[in-house]
C-alpha cells in the first residue's frame, strides 16, 4: 500500500505497474459530474499509465487511509478531498482499485468529522 502511494507520487508508470497484479482492474465513478472513463481499466500497464497521466495533469496530495475496512488512498487537491480510492490487495499486489470521484459521494470526506452524537 505504502509502495502504491510512493509509486503514484513518483508518477513513474513502470514503478507503479510493479505493485499491480497482472489482472488488476480499475473502476472509476464520476457520476456524470466529473469526467471519468465509463469502462474499467485492465492490466498493470493501462492502470498505471492512467493513474500517472491523471496525477501529472492535476497533481494531488495523497494520503493512506482505511476505506471500508480495506486499504485506501485519499487524494487532496486545493484543500479538498477530490478522490477516494479503495484498494483490494491480493498477495502483496493490487488486484482492484475503485476510484470514487463523484463529489456527491465524497461529501462526508469534506465535512468536519461528526461527533459521536450525530452518528
Amino acid at each position: 500500500m505504502h509502495e502504491l502511494r510512493l509509486a503514484a507520487e513518483r508518477g513513474e508508470p513502470a514503478l507503479l505497474a510493479a505493485v499491480l497484479d497482472r489482472r488488476v482492474e480499475m473502476l472509476i465513478d464520476g457520476g456524470g459530474i466529473v469526467p471519468a472513463d465509463p469502462r474499467p481499466f485492465r492490466g498493470p500497464e493501462d492502470v498505471a499509465r492512467k493513474i500517472c497521466d491523471v496525477l501529472e495533469d492535476d497533481p494531488a496530495i495523497i494520503t493512506e487511509r482505511e476505506v471500508n475496512g480495506q486499504r485506501g488512498l485519499v487524494l487532496h487537491r486545493r484543500g479538498e478531498v477530490t478522490a477516494v480510492v479503495c484498494v483490494n490487495v491480493h498477495h502483496r499486489h493490487v488486484t482492484e482499485l475503485w476510484v470514487q470521484l463523484n463529489p456527491d459521494k465524497l461529501r462526508q470526506w469534506n465535512r468536519p468529522r461528526p461527533t459521536a452524537d450525530d452518528r
Binding site: 472509476i28 465509463p38 482505511e66 471500508n68 482492484e96 475503485w98 452524537d117
Partner: protein
Amino acid sequence: MATFTATRPRLFGIAYRMLGSVAEAEDIVQETWVRWQGTDRTVVENPPAFLATITTRLAMNLAQSAHARHETYIGPWLPDPIDTSADPELGAERGEALEFAVLLLLEKLTPAERAAYVLREAFDYPYLLIADIVQSSEPAARKLVSRARKHLAAERRRPAPAPEHRRLLDAFLTAAQSGDIVGLEQLFAEDVVSYSDGGGVKLAARIPVAGRSRVAKFVAAFSSHFWTDVDLRWVEANGLPSIELSRDGVAFTILTVTASESGIDRLLWLMNPSKIRPMATPGAL
C-alpha cells in the same frame, strides 16, 4: 433518546451496507428516528430490534428504487467510500459486508436477499429475527441468506476465460519447473487444492494438498527431478487446455487446472496409467 443514540451506528451500518450510500443511509436513520418518536414505546419489547426492523424495511423500499436509479447512472456506479480509520465503529462489526467488492455484488441481489445477508453476516442476527424483519418465515429467511451467499460466491468465482486459463497454466509450468515458490503462490487462489490421481500405482500424493503456500511448496518440492527430460504437449481434457507430460515418448501425467478470477483453484494431476493409456504408447506403461 438514549436507546436511539446507542442503536444509531448499527442502524446506519445496516442501511449503508444495503444501499452503499451514505446520504441515503443517513436519510433512513433520520426517518427511523421520526417513526420512533411517533411510537408508543411502552409496548415495544426490544427497542434495538424494533429500530433495526424499521431501518431495514425502509432500506428495502429504497433499494427497490435505487436499482433503477443506478441503471440510469452515468458510468460505473460505486458505493460511497467510508473512512473506517476515522469511524472504526462501522467496521467493528463484521467487516466483510463492508468491503467494496461485496457491496458491489450485494447491489445485484433482491432487497430481501440483501437485507437478510447483511443482518446475518454483518450483525449476526438470529434467523427468527431476520424472518420477522423481512416478513417471512424462518426457513425462508435461511434460504434468503444462503441464496445471497451463493450469488456472492459465484460472482467472486467467475471462471477465468480460456486464453487466461491457458496463460495461467503456462505461467504455472514455468514457475513449477524452476521451483519458484513466490511465483507459484501468485498464480494460486487462496484455497487452491492439488489432487493427484495415481490410481495407487504411481508415486502420487494420495491426500489432496490444500492452501496457497502449501501447494506452492508441494509443487516446488518436486521441481528438480519431476520435470527433467520431460516433453510437454498441450492437450484438451474435459474441455480445458491441459498439459501432457511425457518422457522418452511415453506419457505419464496429464495436468489440468481449473481457474477463476482469483487464480488457479485446482490442480489435477492425472497419473493413473489406466487413464492415460489411450494417449500413450500402448504397452509402454
